[in-house]
Amino acid sequence: MKSSRRKFIKLAAVSAMGIGAARLGFLGDAPALAGDLPTATNFEEGLKAKHWGMAVFSAKFTPELIAKCRTACHTEHNVPDIAGQKEIKWFWGASYEESFPTEHGHYMAEKVEHRQFPLLCNQCEAPMCVKVCPTQATFQRPDGIVMMDFHRCIGCRYCMAGCPFGARSFNFQDPRPFIKEFNPLFPTRMRGVVEKCNFCAERLAIGKLPVCVEAAEGALVFGDLSDEQSDIRKALRENFAIRRKPDAGTSPSVYYIL
């Protein structure tokens, strides 16, 4: 913390002298990584879609790959590493039974039964969390991404009660001391607000794919569900896929190929 603060002050001073003038200084702590800052040109190359979705080739996932994606996601988004029942998680792994509690029989294919499934926010088409939020701190973008304004959230946790997938975490304490590697390109949160996966909206804006998709090396396919020609539609056309708890009526945008 201390060294990053010193770096920040140093770089802020440099930026103030005008050297960082071409950079987007409004990103708050960003001067600490002045070299990697996105430029206006990057934002012109932003990825666009009618409805973003994700297909998970679950057979390709090992616990190691899940851990890799999880680390990539949690580092990108400054997700604190808190142990126990008050943990914060955007991306994690769970058994078939935990992932699809309404879909399991007595006798299952062994490879599926013992598989770990990567879980994240389902970015539902009809998100309950958006419906229940009393301040519109959780909202849905026209491209389907369900996002949060961490500064508007009052911490009522109604969205956590509304989400049928346990995709949301609440900051029971100040998360900042638990952030191992600080990424100045994404805001940290304060205590008392809820957070969750945002489909890397901040990366899509500068033309990059979500960080978990990059880390998964082909096991996650990301794309426009409304575009018949997209990779994700191709993957879903060629493979049988299910969604978590379809009976909850929220219509997830994340598909699991078994």
Binding site: G84, Q85, K86, E87, K89, A94, E97, E98, S99, P101, T102, M128, K131, V132, C133, P134, T135, Q136, A137, R152, C153, I154, G155, C156, R157, Y158, M160, A161, G162, C163, P164, F165, G166, S169, F170, N171, F172, Q173, D174, M190, R191, G192, V193, V194, K245, D247, A248, G249, T250
Partner: protein, 397 residues
């Protein structure tokens, strides 16, 4: 009339001081929570609402229950309730104050609370709950205070008070219906997802709320000699008994639907509460206590000769209040969040700070109630004569 709250017996001041001390103690714990965040509670990622929201829900019921006096009085001209009605309205005020308190301590960023007003969101039930609760608070303050003022001046209350009182009857149903809708519309929570939730809430409110009121009134009669009239007491006891029967009946409907249909999601919360899952049996003794006390209370309340004896009535009412509190103030929320969305069990139990902060709010409610009832009784004593010192008259009981 406020001046009546400023003069009182040592017992009055003693009560207020005692409640104030508990409140201060709880305030310390609240500051602790404000400093360190909600990590000091037993809440977790899976059981994200707990003791605070459960108390809120129970007290919305207590607030709504004033309608059990207001409705017979204004709709059916049941004048026997005339002495008790102001106490019911003032209890509702204290209950709503506690409800709002429990919301304030439950949210993670209370200083941002007004975001709910800055960004009104009609598709969120919480927005409507805020509207109806605050509306109900003001209705009761206006109706209660004005009626008392006119009573003091020996005048008939103006017509608009009666209109507002009638509005408050419908409003009372709305506060508990909207509170039930907070839960009943959530697709992932099987224990909440039931069309009968609002009806269950109302039934439970209409037995537990008047039971608390009646217990307090009987206590008041003992302390001050204020007598609401035996007829009114008997009638309210009958209302409570019917409501409790309906409350238990509605609960059994849930049990039937869950177990006859054999739907795993619907059975799981009931199994967790009454039998435990995966060795997690924390709730089991509580829930069976509620069953025994709930059914037991009916043994005291249903037979008229027993119900009309004060000690038996008090016993039955206490049993009823404990049973309904376990059902709604513990079981409802914990059952709703267990099993969690992954069909596993995450155990929740309130921590000491959580309970102390809750005590702070209960004390606040106690202070509001004591002051308001003091005013109401002093006004009655002033108008009808009687004993001003608030010491029981020698003839009483």
């Amino acid at each position: 009339m406020l001046e009546k709250a400023l003069k009182g017996s040592p017992r009055y001041w003693g009560t207020l001081t005692a409640l104030g001390m508990v409140m201060l103690l709880g305030l310390g714990f609240w500051l602790y929570q404000l400093t360190f965040g909600m990590q000091i509670t037993g809440l977790n990622r899976d059981v994200s609402w707990g003791f605070y929201i459960a108390q809120f829900t129970y007290l919305v019921g207590v607030a709504a229950s004033a309608v059990m006096l207001v409705l017979p009085y204004y709709f059916h001209h049941y004048k026997e309730f005339s002495k008790m009605i102001i106490l019911g309205e003032f209890l509702a005020i204290a209950a709503v104050v506690m409800c709002l308190g429990f919301i304030v301590v439950d949210i993670g960023q209370p200083q941002r609370m007004l975001n709910v007003l800055l960004n009104p969101t009609p598709h969120s039930v919480l927005f409507w709950d805020m509207v109806v609760l605050n509306g109900y608070l003001f209705l009761n303050i206006i109706v209660g205070w004005t009626s008392l003022q006119y009573f003091k001046n020996d005048m008939t209350p103006p017509k608009w008070v009666k209109i507002l009182a009638i509005v408050s009857v419908i409003w009372a149903f709305s506060i508990h219906t909207v509170t039930a809708f907070l839960y009943a519309g959530l697709p992932g929570r099987h224990y909440f997802l039931t069309a009968i939730m609002a009806a269950r809430f109302l039934a439970s409110a209409f037995c537990s709320g008047p039971a608390i009121l009646l217990l307090l009134v009987l206590f008041l009669r003992r302390l001050t000699g204020f007598d609401p009239g035996q007829k009114a007491i008997n009638r309210l006891a009958v209302i409570i008994t019917y409501a409790m029967c309906v409350n238990i009946f509605f609960f059994l409907l849930e049990v039937f639907t869950s177990f006859y249909s054999n739907m795993p999601g619907h059975m799981a919360p009931l199994i967790y509460l009454f039998q435990g899952i995966d060795g997690h049996t924390m709730m089991v003794p509580f829930m069976w206590t509620a069953v025994v006390l709930g059914l037991g209370s009916l043994l005291f309340l249903i037979p008229t000769p027993i119900r009309q004896k004060t000690p038996a009535l008090v016993t039955g009412l206490i049993m009823l209040v404990i049973a309904s509190w376990i059902d709604k103030g513990l079981g409802l929320l914990i059952g709703g969040f267990t099993p969690n969305p992954f069909e596993t069990v995450t155990v929740y139990s309130p921590t000491i700070p959580e309970i102390m902060i809750s005590l702070m709010i209960f004390s606040l409610g106690g202070i509001v109630l004591t002051v308001l009832w003091k005013i109401a009784i002093e006004v009655r004593v002033e108008v009808e004569g009687g004993n001003l010192s608030m010491v029981p008259p020698p003839a009483a009981e």
